[in-house]
Subunit: 435 residues, 2 copies
Amino acid sequence: MKGTLSRAAIMAVGSELLTPIRTDTNSLYITEQLNRLGIEVVMKMIVGDDRRELAEAFRAARHRADLVVTIGGLGPTDDDVTREVVAETMGRALHEDGAITEQIRARFLARGFTTPMPEINRRQAMVPRGAAVLPNANGTAPGLWLERGNAAIVLLPGPPREMKPMLEAVISERLAPRAGGRGLFRRVLKIAGRAESDVDAQVAPVYGQWTHQAVPISTTILAVLGQIELHLTAAADHRAAADAALDVAVAALQDVLGASLFSVDGRNLEVVVGDLLRQGRLTIAVAESCTGGLLASRLTDVPGSSDYVERGVVCYSNRAKTELVGVSEAMIREYGAVSEPVAQAMAAGIRSRAGTNIAIGITGIAGPGGGTPEKPVGTVAVAVIGDEETRVRTFQFLGGRDMVKFQATQSALNMTRLMITKAGAGREWAERKSN
Amino acid sequence: MKGTLSRAAIMAVGSELLTPIRTDTNSLYITEQLNRLGIEVVMKMIVGDDRRELAEAFRAARHRADLVVTIGGLGPTDDDVTREVVAETMGRALHEDGAITEQIRARFLARGFTTPMPEINRRQAMVPRGAAVLPNANGTAPGLWLERGNAAIVLLPGPPREMKPMLEAVISERLAPRAGGRGLFRRVLKIAGRAESDVDAQVAPVYGQWTHQAVPISTTILAVLGQIELHLTAAADHRAAADAALDVAVAALQDVLGASLFSVDGRNLEVVVGDLLRQGRLTIAVAESCTGGLLASRLTDVPGSSDYVERGVVCYSNRAKTELVGVSEAMIREYGAVSEPVAQAMAAGIRSRAGTNIAIGITGIAGPGGGTPEKPVGTVAVAVIGDEETRVRTFQFLGGRDMVKFQATQSALNMTRLMITKAGAGREWAERKSN
């Protein structure tokens, strides 16, 4: 019986990962999968396609971890050295596995390449003595699994669509039976319309109690553009125990956070709003100025959104505001294009034309130009009109053009969510946020 | 006189960087800066806030590099151990630098905190014997510079707005005089409407000649969604020499790639199209179905785009197609909503209403639902109508909903670019791409 595996090192291999252009992101997915089994990632290394560097890094990784996961460097070219360096470092001879060669050859034929498999691809069929081959359903490079004593080494290919299914098979067939630690299970909660410090002051006394309970839960607060995320991580022997503890924790946070908490399952705001529209058999139309179509685009990022999105208009010129949503030149002269009356008139205009239950109007100054002392860059007026209610607010967002656009759509979606759920308009939070 | 520095290891410190939520990205910026000096990054490591792990990783990094750059772990709490571990590993005693303590204290006062500096912040004033202090203009944690023999170690804080100015000062004051290698200078070229293998086959014979010239240029080809990027990296003693060689290289690639090359200075396609519209004093309006506003949003991501974007409409329902751009129900019945005649009618309808020089119509099936054997998911028809010409094409894109939406907007922008520059419609490339 082999010992348990609890400490992992992840090594990403590839000279392109040491340039300013790219870095490893595969390790995030791998970490999530290993953490669920209770295997902690104690270090990550990124090395180039250099035999000596790779050998030294591999030795350092083995020294500190009982599971080493390498990513990349399994291709057929001279730059792909992971297989050979690992075999050499572990003192295992390589031999060609004829079955793999035939599989790669068949793959070339099946894909209709006019040339047969190049001889160079035979390198991918080389297997270190004692290693198990991990089949690759989506590419030519098979993975490898090696053991020495209680330690294990996994060699995975770099392309995510090849790496992920191979890792999943390794997890269920080889790692899960040997993972001794408590698994880590995460849940992501999302909060809109509030500041990080404000949320943390409110929830810290709550989550502070969870770190020493039978199923401990650690909490991380992250400020992402336009929303605050709470990442809860429960450590438990089984998923069921973690879920039970997480359910209690989420309920406690729901009590404290109230309507500002919009997602307890990782769903984005446009998905949450889409689900509410669908459940209520409601339709929506939007009239945008400064967000330039981003709100319509986010709403239509959701599969099936054609069931509730009727139309959108981007009124970038004043003439378009008049023609598309009936905002008069006189109104623009009186209040300015960026004003609550114009936002409300845009919403009313698109609503009557589209015949939807809900309509949104947005007008603002995305920057970098166009700001004035009274209406600086980042000033955005949003109006949401429903069957029973109208809500209008002015926000003052910080950041560059992209950030202002995104935050404006986030606030418009959140106002829509609060209106559909008949929650408070949240003006109080918005005022705190804009300070 | 100290020896030159040529090989760097970057260590990012922080347990949060070993979770599935976050990873190091600071190293990309640091790599770019070091590469310009001719210092190669030979490895990157990511370790947690653990004294023993950090000490072992630091020893491994020093073993392989003559410059070690650490990021993070310089804060005032028990979790911030970089300063102490580096001092201990190098056998340097720590002493409190009274001047730093006073600076931190003054900073707390200046920021109007109601409480004075907590005593815990004195940890940030601890300096290893022989180290130089790197001032932090944007935070309390000073950086540190240490030398031993010919090797150097730099400790930087984690927040980018503190790290970047500190690194820039270290570069000019300490690293530039000791960087012996040739600097690396990059240029990014972008290509639309072609497949990676196709581009590579065409340009490989060209860039293959540059690797052994006086100022060698290495080339990396990257397939990014909707475009191909060529990253040229010149190694030269001075920026002027690199620029001269890169100018020649770019001209050679322009000759070979012709109109498919849309950017030689990193500009995105929406910026290139915006610049063309502005130069030609042209205006534009768009009518979108499957892209749901993403095309308008990309066009309006560009500062000053209100000068040429007149309006956009998102006709998600058939009724909206009729009301907003005059596409008749009969036409939709005859050709289907996803068809070249409907795309063209959408473009014509928005163009006559908006009175713009150029108009774009897009209709397609973004998926995952809605596909048929004749018109599978990913089928998108795009029409561009200008003052002198109409171009209409049907594409077949691969990938999920987001990817289809993005590629459709990319193709629409590229058709617009080619029309304005009076280049070929590029149908030949599109057909290759869709195979």
